[in-house]
């Protein structure tokens, strides 16, 4: 599986747009990119996933350039409740369970 690298932590003020970039230089052709969010004392929660270009849902947008060696999770207008750890994962569409890294700890400040 492709190794992912993302910042350990980020700070943001309320109302700002937050972009968390993840690099996955060794991504394979049949790999997908997925992001999870984890609040304290809870399990991770699926946010978004994609293969290429742009994916948007009610929570976030995911931007994936043509070479797919990186991806950016974009959170519009964050609030204090978006303070959490965000995990970028690359997974094979075959039979491999998800492998988590350490994630990015986002702190939203009032």
């Amino acid at each position: 599986l492709a190794k992912t690298t993302q910042p350990i932590s980020m700070d943001s003020y309320e109302g700002q747009e937050v972009n968390i970039t993840c690099s996955h230089n060794n991504i394979a052709t049949n790999d997908y990119i997925t992001w999870y969010q984890q609040f304290p004392s809870q399990g991770p929660r699926f946010i978004i996933q994609g293969y290429k270009t742009k994916v948007t849902n009610e929570v976030a947008s995911l931007f994936i350039p043509a070479d797919r060696k990186s991806s950016t999770l974009s959170l519009p207008r964050v609030s204090l409740s978006d303070t959490a750890v965000y995990y970028c994962l690359v997974y094979n569409s075959g039979n491999t369970p998800l492998v988590f890294g350490k994630g990015t700890r986002l702190s939203v400040i009032a």
Binding site: Y32, T34, Y36, S41, Q42, G43, P44, R45, F46, Q49, V85, Y87, Y91, S93, G94, N95, T96, P97, L98, V99, F100, G101, K102, G103
Partner: protein, 118 residues
């Protein structure tokens, strides 16, 4: 149920004691996963079931760890002769799809069981 339910929520065990952690996945979900999460770290894969079959147990740290899902729904993770390094949050997740695939909606995780070995 509406989500993945894990019990107990908290467990304190004396070193050497056996523990059993329960996971009730979302009804109809084919795949079930157990993860271990140490403080400040990401979840680490332990084992995976497709229905009642345990297809991957490569992440179980020792033969003291045992998991089962006898009827393809509820799963139990058992840890024998607990040690201090077993202290962690144990997370269960389920997925509608088989084969470890995440499908359109990803894995649904429970809130975990926090195990403290003293």
């Amino acid at each position: 149920g509406a989500g993945v339910s894990q019990s107990p929520r908290y467990k304190v065990a004396k070193r050497g004691q056996d523990v059993a952690l329960r996971c009730d996945p979302i009804s109809g979900h084919v795949s079930l996963f157990w993860y271990q999460q140490a403080l400040g770290q990401g979840p680490e894969f332990l084992t995976y079931f497709q229905n009642e079959a345990q297809l991957d147990k490569s992440g179980l740290p020792s033969d003291r760890f045992f998991a089962e899902r006898p009827e393809g729904s509820v799963s139990t993770l058992k840890i024998q002769r607990t040690q201090q390094e077993d202290s962690a949050v144990y997370l269960c997740a389920s997925s509608l799809e088989g084969g470890g695939r995440t499908g359109e909606y990803g894995y649904t995780f429970g809130s975990g069981t926090r195990l403290t070995v003293v």
